[in-house]
Symmetry: D2
Subunit: 351 residues, 4 copies
Amino acid sequence: MIKAKIIGATGYGGVGIVELLLRHPEVEITALVAKDEVGKPLSHFYPHLSGFCDMMVHPADSEAAQAPADVVFFSTPDGIGMQLAQVELDRGAKLIDYSGDFRFNNPEDYAEYARRIGRDTTHKAPELLARSVYGLPELGLGTAADADIVGNPGCFAVSCLLGLAPAAKHALVDPQTLICDCKTGVSGAGKKPNAAFHFPSRYDNMNAYKLAGHQHVCEVELNLEKLAGHPMPVTFTAQVVPATRGILSCLYGTLASGISAEQVQEAYAEFYRNQSFVRLYTRDDSVGTAQVRGSNYCNVVVDVDERTRRLRVVSHIDNLMKGQAGSALQNMNLLFGFPETQALDFPGSIP
Amino acid sequence: MIKAKIIGATGYGGVGIVELLLRHPEVEITALVAKDEVGKPLSHFYPHLSGFCDMMVHPADSEAAQAPADVVFFSTPDGIGMQLAQVELDRGAKLIDYSGDFRFNNPEDYAEYARRIGRDTTHKAPELLARSVYGLPELGLGTAADADIVGNPGCFAVSCLLGLAPAAKHALVDPQTLICDCKTGVSGAGKKPNAAFHFPSRYDNMNAYKLAGHQHVCEVELNLEKLAGHPMPVTFTAQVVPATRGILSCLYGTLASGISAEQVQEAYAEFYRNQSFVRLYTRDDSVGTAQVRGSNYCNVVVDVDERTRRLRVVSHIDNLMKGQAGSALQNMNLLFGFPETQALDFPGSIP
Amino acid sequence: MIKAKIIGATGYGGVGIVELLLRHPEVEITALVAKDEVGKPLSHFYPHLSGFCDMMVHPADSEAAQAPADVVFFSTPDGIGMQLAQVELDRGAKLIDYSGDFRFNNPEDYAEYARRIGRDTTHKAPELLARSVYGLPELGLGTAADADIVGNPGCFAVSCLLGLAPAAKHALVDPQTLICDCKTGVSGAGKKPNAAFHFPSRYDNMNAYKLAGHQHVCEVELNLEKLAGHPMPVTFTAQVVPATRGILSCLYGTLASGISAEQVQEAYAEFYRNQSFVRLYTRDDSVGTAQVRGSNYCNVVVDVDERTRRLRVVSHIDNLMKGQAGSALQNMNLLFGFPETQALDFPGSIP
Amino acid sequence: MIKAKIIGATGYGGVGIVELLLRHPEVEITALVAKDEVGKPLSHFYPHLSGFCDMMVHPADSEAAQAPADVVFFSTPDGIGMQLAQVELDRGAKLIDYSGDFRFNNPEDYAEYARRIGRDTTHKAPELLARSVYGLPELGLGTAADADIVGNPGCFAVSCLLGLAPAAKHALVDPQTLICDCKTGVSGAGKKPNAAFHFPSRYDNMNAYKLAGHQHVCEVELNLEKLAGHPMPVTFTAQVVPATRGILSCLYGTLASGISAEQVQEAYAEFYRNQSFVRLYTRDDSVGTAQVRGSNYCNVVVDVDERTRRLRVVSHIDNLMKGQAGSALQNMNLLFGFPETQALDFPGSIP
């Protein structure tokens, strides 16, 4: 039985990991920490947890928030995890950070990320970067089992990378032709109300946003480059639609010379042969984001438009599960040697 | 480990009980039966179950559908369960029927129900009625533990009865003043597409329906009468709103002479003191159907409008859980002596 | 051609009246005034109006906001209109106020309203109350034609009063038995984002609110009393569902002794014989709020539950049209002697 | 005053043109024709039209359906218009067909279209093709003013062509690099209920469909080729999201050598300088499909991703307006020499 602390417990990412940890037989939640919504039980802020998680939520500077834990989840914005990481490591914890703080294993990559999104390019804990791993184990680029810190991947990045990793690894497409057209439900923007996500503004509405550059592009390109051995720049378009959960990403690249549709299908099948959370489909299957809602699965339709010789992959995840808390729990399982699917082996529900 | 057969496995009620049984350590699903969607695995019709329930769905006349089971769920329309019940009982099964077939313990009550909804008033298996129980154990009117057959309650009826039972039992209101104003999400109408629930017709739309009489009224009135010892007729209005899951029922009755708001609160608290799935709230609490979505709970706001001396109860359930498959599993637990909350002790998820 | 000024132009009520005035051949919008969203064209805040209304929005203290107009719409919260009314009247304007400021024709009634909602019970312009009229002309209690100021009715109040007025006028029901169970879409809460109406919190969610007392109850009871000649207290329950536009109100009262279902239908038909914006239906008709979305109509299903001898009326409006800007324009037409339906004679659109 | 007949009057396309014609001072609807929903007034099937269009709907073989009209709208599937066109022309009508029957001006292009979608490649009225025009006048490829028959464009095609026409015309992009990633609301699939658009299946769900080839691709490619002077094949992905109205299309192409972002903006501005229904935006503007909902506008965000040197255009229409009935009315105006924007110069409404 390990002890878990959750920092940022009252956001969607926090309550999401709480819901999952309640299913996990090897974990006990021992501390809930938040910034504003404190001094009351979590079930006050989330009444569905009444009887399930009635623990008090504490402010970061409280004694309760300082107690050591075996695993600390940072469901916090960029810049928080890197400040608190060393302290928690010293208390004996392993860390899972939802932000960009530990998604890059060296100061140079972090600086590039920070530069693109307009943050200070100097990492606050550069010495810890070597102890961190990017938390998308399906890529085969390292696993939490060998790390103390996991940079939990961005939701859009998960959908793009799981859709394009085999293409990058096996040189299926011309590296200069990648386009990621990504649609998300509103929960990806978090719990804080704003004008764009006010119900009357959002129902029956779709729009693209952050055309100047989304923060997840950097980790997509970096990991594709690691898989391919050379740069693979992507044009990335984030869009939001009137759904709550789900990301639907359409991923495009021109087939490399000599690559056939059969080779594409084989490469994807091979790449994901031993992965529990990726399911492959073809254009003849009927899949949508509803089929992954509430679960940790990524459903990937692998397709080739023969007429234009273009690879087209349609990737489906629940942005709050495989795109956030589900991946976090999967990473926790790997950090501690639990079965990778423990407390994640359930299908969601329909309708 | 008991064996479960599900008849009507491909409707919402069928897939709902499958999802729940997959969580239950004491139950193995051994047969899935349906009318039209047969000859393929359940996961073909419900891809989210891929890897979780890939069992073949069989037609009713197949050999596989005849195999004995310990429990048979009839997720079928009125009239099916009463025809097949004896055969399944003879094979050693206990039965849970989602329709009105076994919601009435004697032929007279059934006849009244059948008359109101325009069906043949003669029950096809009258001798079995005495072996059946109405499956809402919180009413204290009998429990599945003493029965072979459970008439699983109607979704609207669950919301009304849990909201009004204490008032009926403790004579809190004038028996001639009951009004049930009930709003449901669309899934209550089942899986079959129709014009009224076509997405473009339903979004941004609300309407009342079946003003001439809804089939659930009868079981509401019958059980209130059992609790009160005298008739309690209700005016019942069914409405549908653009949600998928959830029933919100506003229940009204004029306070009986001499009854105070405090007595009302006490009576409700006492009535539900030992019930796992009913949570009580007051007008100051913030609750909605989202807080019971995906779980077996009924959240009940108990309120008195002092100005008009009227009891007002606001009852919240997930129509597919406490209103259908959740109650079915709860009843199965009682039928077999498992803990009442087994495989139902989870909170749903937010958002 | 009259000149119109809109105060509170950037809220839903403001943009709603702008959209309608753009259709009106006799009106020219000459000033748009707001509190925060100022200094840019209205089409900046509402891009759909680009090319249709590119007028600048001015702060209240600007010179442009002081220019005289023939009609001033106060799409403002309680307390604003009563402060500014005299100034605008002095400039020669007639006024339409969306708040509760002028819904009560005398200081006593206003005080009762203010008391119930916790505001200062002293009206700031009591001398103007006699020049005002309650802006629901279908009630037959006075019309804007004889007034300088219109208190535009509350959205819930419109739906309740149009549904119950004939019953009050013709003594169809026991005056102590009225219940108004009202469901609204989210736009009724206005444009300002908050946690309850954040898309992920609101989708697939329904809840009751303000159980302690909604501000519209007072005007419902007051006008019913005027029609009936005696008090008619109502139990009122406001609810919100995941729609954007629409109010569905179910209205109940026990039939008075000797009143038949036929008499009920006749009384309603008679009451609304010459009204353009009320359409009557029976339980056999299929109507929902979608059928009034975007239009100024109120669809009223008149029904009697014979078994319980209870009148049941189901009233449907678009809360932003007949519930707000549509009524405002109708009142403007009456104030100035234009045809009552001018610029309002359109049906909305489906789907 | 011209007379209009609508064939297929009870579908979304039919009721859409009825709603618009009701606004048009120069048109009188004289016949409504449908296949199944006949023998009752249109307002029976669409109650919001009660008092606005209570004309009877007739079957195609009735006398009323044969009466001559000045304009006939075929809101019918592929294959109907081409059979009835000559008869209606002989009666003196001009025709607007919503299907693919007259979107191609010569038998060869039609055959290619028919082949791709698996229909008989022989046009049934080849001699009429020369009298027809593709009904997207903004392309500058011919206008209804010079034709007797208009092939009203497909909804996806409108969004793609308006987004890419300037790029094709001015050689802004490499012709082998076009990708159209298109998201539609559910109403695009029409009024007939099916499993995929049943409310509970569709809410909180997104999916791609027809990956093997959508019928609108052909007209997109054909018109781009006319503009460019050479083939421009597109990879096209149709997707459906839980909205009712709206198409959001993201359109991509690699910038041609030497083309700058400034040149792109200038080319678009020049191309649409005199067009009433196209509005141009940049990445800094906040636009979504809600801003064109209910109106005939196409809002086009023109953007260049400098890092990957890729043109990215985001195109927004209401699929039932500029994507269907709105374009049909615009084409009717051109056919008869009315002002192009007549009865279309309104902005929609928010929220």
